[in-house]
Amino acid sequence: MFTIYKHEIKEYWKSLLIWAICVGGMGAMCILLFSSMKETMSGMTESFASMGAFSDAFGMSQLSIATLAGFYATEIGTIHGLGGAMFAAVVSANILSKEEDGHTSEFLFSLPIRREKAVFAKWSAAVSHILLFNLLCVLLYLVAIVALGEEMDFHRYFLYHIMQLLMQMEVAGICFCISAFQKKNKLGLSLGVVLLLYAYDLMARVVPDLADYKLFSPFSYANAADLFSTGEIYLAGTVLGAAVLAAGVVVAHVIYGRKDLAV
């Protein structure tokens, strides 16, 4: 099992580095730009907060974009939120289906390893990549924040990133489950699901009738503006998110363990 885990870590390490440097790097650059933009944004805070649905969707009505926390929640919240979710989809969407798509399933599963163990090893590798991605990004952000020298509420900062981690794991669980059913790589489908969930969250923040149903999107409980402004976890969304994550992983194990493997 460890052999397969090691193999999957090696297969995706380049993706990990590219995505972490791009997302983390972009976020760090944004943070470093804050001090030069602070004065400009102070004058525009009220304008940003009174842009109706646009302000609600991106949390600019909850926090002042002229503060580091508000700026972080608005800018880095979007970059890290969407970028992290997409990376989670990238590492989990094809991790099972690639064996059949690449015709390596006959080689791998004729080795003396239970299919469920192989699936668990692949899931563990995907989780490890997501953890490393977040670690690298958070380190880059922290370096930028320290270099900036501005004040930051680190309790809410780390709460946000923990919820982001859970959100990415849920996305990975959904994409992992999709991968178990597929005989061909369907990265586009998984990225589409991510974008759909993101768009759904935006709509749920703007459309009053959808407000009670925003919990169905994992972006609901990992929203930077909510977490930085209230410092509280959105419990319903978090519990549902954890349940969806668990269900996705369990279903993937069961389905892949029983299916006829295509050659």
Binding site: H7, E106, F107, S110, P112, I113, R114, R258, L261, V263
Partner: protein, 277 residues
């Protein structure tokens, strides 16, 4: 002699489409067992059911007296399998691939792998994506043999190999079998069946046509008759009383005649035609 493989009434359907129906045969220990049939006959379905890659609806498969449905891991630890489509992870190097196969088995196969790579002339430093079909096949052979399993299952192993490597492959098989291993060989190359296999099974349209010794399968009274008369050449397969053939030929003004054993593929095709009739 105990049986290494025992397949009883194996039935597998892919939805409504038949895979195999009521397939039963045994492979004895120490045998080089041939497995042949036309495309779509059900050979790969049978092999993949044996290895637990697909689930079957009815019947049973026992290997080393263990049920594949409940003891798959234990069975596969003593099986070396090479699929017909030998695909590996393209970004890996050959030596990494071979090492990975050994690691999953929890065995140190470096010595045996080195010996096999030398004999099969495998370049271990090349990337998988840079290999030709034949070279990929050789890597597949190394991965299947390096742990010295008790049972080899090869699906068209020599397609893509040059004649020298084909010969080397069969030498290796015979060496391992002489040390107690068993080999099941699925192939379209009839000369391989005739030259190396003791017993064979023939499948067609999901059913087993026959299981017998290769000698019995290829034994035939048929003769290929080639004659030249009245400036024309004729060739036909004759199966029947030889005295009657001689009497018939005596009636012709024959310029030249050759009566010989039929070619192997003729026996095979003849066998299929007689069974389907």
């Amino acid at each position: 002699m105990k049986n290494v493989i025992e397949i009883d009434n194996l039935t597998k359907y892919y939805g409504k489409h038949r895979g195999v129906t009521d397939v039963s045969f045994q492979v004895a220990e120490g045998d080089i067992f041939g497995f042949l049939g036309p495309n779509g006959a059900g050979k790969s379905t049978t092999i993949r059911s044996m290895l637990g890659l697909i689930r079957f609806q009815k019947g049973s498969i026992r290997i080393f007296d263990k049920d594949i449905r409940t003891d798959k891991e234990a069975i596969l630890s003593e099986v070396g399998y090479m699929p017909s489509e030998t695909m590996f992870y393209p970004a890996m190097k050959v030596k990494e691939m071979i090492q990975m196969a050994a690691e999953v088995r929890g065995k140190d196969c470096r010595k045996e792998a080195e010996k096999l790579c030398q004999r099969l002339q495998v370049d271990v430093d090349k990337k998988i994506s840079d290999l030709s079909l034949g070279n990929r096949k050789k890597v597949g052979i190394v991965c299947a043999m390096q742990h010295r399993p008790k049972l080899f299952v090869f699906d068209e192993p020599t397609s893509g190999l040059d004649p020298l490597m084909q010969s080397e492959f069969f030498k290796l098989i015979q060496e391992y079998v002489s040390e107690g291993a068993t080999c099941m060989l699925s192939t379209h190359v009839l000369s391989e069946i005739k030259n190396y296999c003791q017993n064979a099974a023939i499948m067609k349209e999901g059913k087993l046509l026959c299981v017998d010794s290769v000698g019995n399968i290829t034994r035939t009274n048929a003769k290929r008759v080639k004659l030249q008369r009245e400036g024309r050449q004729e060739s036909y397969l004759y199966k029947g009383d030889m005295n009657e053939l001689v009497r018939d030929l005596a009636g012709y003004d024959i310029e030249d005649i050759l009566i010989e054993e039929p070619a192997l593929d003729e026996i095979f095709m003849h066998f299929y035609e007689s069974e389907s009739n």
